[in-house]
């Protein structure tokens, strides 16, 4: 017990390396992981997500057939051992197409969220530090973007750019960056506050240094939570958009499109639309489970 006290004091005395300086955050992290292991919901989420990522990576080895392999003489076959999820109207094996689809959809989701974080946090950080006019302007801009529901804004942007997968992805980026801009800006402002209060640090701390040393470590958790939740959101929105006619061209193995194709045969061959929908549901459910768990665990108030 007393040693405990000893150790702590000695740490304080040592010259501050990044790790020491962020010892609390690191303890926090260890602790967080421990908590995550505890929560069955999060574990379930991880399993689901792992499953889909696995599908995406190992598609060529798992999928019995190619993404665009069609058995023209076997259209609309009900599920069977040969075609676990049945075949679509052009005799494509839905099971294989779902597996290949995971590649496409997850890629879209990751690209969108990653670039949103990048753009968002850069702009957010800048406006947080520069403050005044730039900050004001950026906030007004985000206001405008946030004045639309995600799907609808994406719809309009994609429509203006022209309908194809690339533009769909771009549209989604356009929609998602403001969230992160605001999030990071908030963190920066908070950090600024702290710095002014604790003058010692403020002395000769360059913005860059502050960002890397203080803002990043502090905003990393909220951003992660937001990102996991958004990944799910993007998957849903992207699917929704390609369901109403944006996105991939005919025949491409993309979940939303597959549902759209199955729609006219819903009553005769329900499996065509049913299974891709399940894929969407489960993948975004996985991400939401994780995100939700993280949020609870990282929320200090829910923690006590």
């Amino acid at each position: 017990m007393t040693q405990m006290g000893q150790v702590k004091t000695s740490v304080e005395r040592k010259s501050k390396s990044w790790f020491d300086e962020h010892a609390p955050q690191i303890r926090e992290l260890k602790f967080t992981l421990y908590l995550l292991r505890q929560s069955p919901i999060v574990v379930a989420g991880f399993i689901l997500v792992a499953l889909f990522i696995g599908m995406a990576i190992f598609a060529p080895w798992i999928a019995p057939h190619g993404p665009e392999e069609r058995f023209w003489n076997l259209p609309q076959q009900p599920p069977s051992w040969r075609f676990p999820f049945g075949t679509d109207t052009t005799g494509g094996d839905i099971y294989s197409r779902i597996i290949w689809g995971s590649r496409l959809d997850l890629t879209i989701a990751l690209t969108v969220v990653a670039s949103a974080i990048l753009i968002g946090s850069v702009l957010g950080a800048i406006s947080g530090f520069m403050g005044r006019a730039f900050d004001e302007a950026l906030m007004r801009v985000t206001d405008v973007f946030l004045a639309f529901p995600a799907l609808i804004l994406a719809m309009a942007v994609a429509a203006a750019l022209g309908r194809n997968l690339t533009n769909l992805t771009i549209a989604l980026m356009v929609v998602w960056w403001p969230t992160y801009a605001r999030l990071v800006r908030g963190q920066v402002l908070a950090e600024k506050e702290r710095l002014y209060v604790d003058a010692a640090r403020a002395v000769g701390a360059s913005p860059a240094r502050i960002i890397f040393r203080h803002v990043l470590p502090n905003s990393i958790f909220p951003v992660i939570v937001q990102a996991t939740l958004d990944l799910g959101g993007v998957i849903l929105t992207a699917a929704g958009l390609s369901f109403i006619g944006f996105g991939a061209g005919a025949g491409v193995a993309e979940w939303g499109l597959m549902i759209a194709d199955g729609r006219s045969y819903l009553f005769q061959s329900p499996w065509i639309a049913c299974f891709p929908g399940l894929a969407i549901l489960l993948s975004s459910l996985g991400l939401n489970l994780i995100g939700d768990g993280l949020r609870d665990v990282l929320d200090p108030r829910l923690r006590r």
Binding site: M1, T2, M4, G5, F31, Y34, L35, R303, R304
Partner: protein, 375 residues
């Protein structure tokens, strides 16, 4: 000495957090006697508030839990009572006044409603209704001249009502409401709330700090409790108001004759209104004595530190600056006497085992080895 109305024996309250078990109360003993004012002093985080919450059985569970001990109130152990029974006692027999009137009042409910609900659940208002009816009758009787037929009738009516007094019938919601409101206003008057008729309709944010604290005190006193626990009732108020509130408390104590357990870190307040004082440190009671005795001759090194910390002229100051070190973390408390890491007279034994809490002089108990040897 009259017998205590509340006896706390070896009370242990732990908090089971992810980080570990916080031993907030490590077996404290405390007696509160009929009609006295007991002060419980100590630094922030030494377990004063936990004590009060434990008495009320309001420790949030999870994470907190009362793991051991007894709280004997009128010969019955509160820790053995059912939630329903506790609800009968809370706000009725044992009540509480909290530290911060800003956060302890519900922002979206009018003062009137917040006060009256206590009355509504604990008091038998039917009696009031009867009472008021009788008054009305008697009023009219006074107006009437001696030999009008009504007079006779009213007399009888009064008799009937008098009969009803002990087991009154159910009255309409409206009548009950009227009665409640009347009582509420009375209580607010009692705590010298300015213009109570207006205040009942107002929301907390429309009141000043002092008024809010009065409102809270009103709630606590509306059912004339046996014991009033005041948890740092004045810390968040400015000095002038502090004085008023303290004055009010002691005055009301006389009026109602209830005991007060006042929790504070301000020796000044203690000196002003407490009959006896208990000093807490890191979850233990380390010294209990009559106020005079304690100020005259503090035994425990920590207590001595506390008293030194008070500048003679001015009192409202952070007092613990000159005791070196800081409050130990209660997850990994120091072994033995929890004060030993900061104690100027540390001895070998101190970090081995916890000193027993023994009465050294009459009514003056202390937990420290310094005095063990003298024996």
């Amino acid at each position: 000495m009259p017998e205590p109305i509340l006896q706390i024996r070896n009370l242990k309250t732990y908090f089971y957090t992810y980080a570990g078990v916080v031993r907030a109360l490590e077996g404290i003993d405390l007696d509160i006697y009929q009609g006295e004012t007991l002060g419980l002093v100590g630094e922030t985080g030494c377990g004063k508030s936990v004590t009060s919450l434990s008495i009320m059985r309001l420790v949030a569970d999870p994470p907190g839990r009362i793991v051991d001990g007894q709280i004997i109130y009128k010969g019955e152990d509160l820790l053995k009572k059912s939630e329903a029974q506790m609800q009968q006692i809370r706000g009725n027999k044992i009540t509480m006044v909290f530290q911060d009137p800003m956060t302890f009042l519900n922002p979206v409910i009018t003062i009137g409603d917040q006060v009256s609900e206590v009355i509504a659940i604990h008091e038998n208002l039917a009696r009031d209704v009867v009472r008021s009816k009788i008054d009305e009758c008697e009023e009219t009787i006074k107006q009437l001249d001696s030999n009008s037929p009504d007079r006779e009738r009213l007399m009888n009516r009064v008799k009937e009502l008098e009969a009803l007094k002990d087991n009154p019938p159910k009255y309409s919601r409206r009548e009950m409401k009227k009665a409640t409101l009347r009582r509420t206003i009375e209580v607010l008057k009692l705590v010298q709330m300015p213009s109570p008729e207006k205040v009942v309709k107002q929301y907390p944010h429309e009141l000043s700090g002092g008024m809010r604290q009065r409102a809270i005190i009103a709630m606590a006193l509306s059912c004339s409790p046996d014991l009033l626990i005041a948890d740092e009732p004045t810390t968040s108020l400015d000095v002038t108001i502090q004085a008023q509130i303290l004055a009010l408390l002691s005055e009301l104590k006389k009026k109602i004759g209830s005991s007060i357990l006042i929790i504070t870190h301000d020796m000044g307040i203690v000196a002003e209104i407490c009959d006896r004082v208990s000093v807490m440190y890191a979850g233990n009671i380390i010294e209990t004595a009559e106020t005079k005795a304690l100020f005259k001759n503090p035994l425990h090194p920590y207590t001595q530190g506390l008293l030194k910390a008070i500048p003679k002229l001015h009192r409202d100051v952070e007092e613990l600056e000159i005791i070196p070190g800081s409050v130990p973390n209660l997850i990994y408390p120091p072994s033995g006497c929890r004060f030993h890491p900061r104690c100027p007279f540390r001895m070998d034994i101190c970090d081995k085992e916890n000193p027993p809490f023994i009465e050294r002089e009459r009514g003056h108990s202390v937990a420290c080895y310094l005095y063990q040897e003298k024996k």
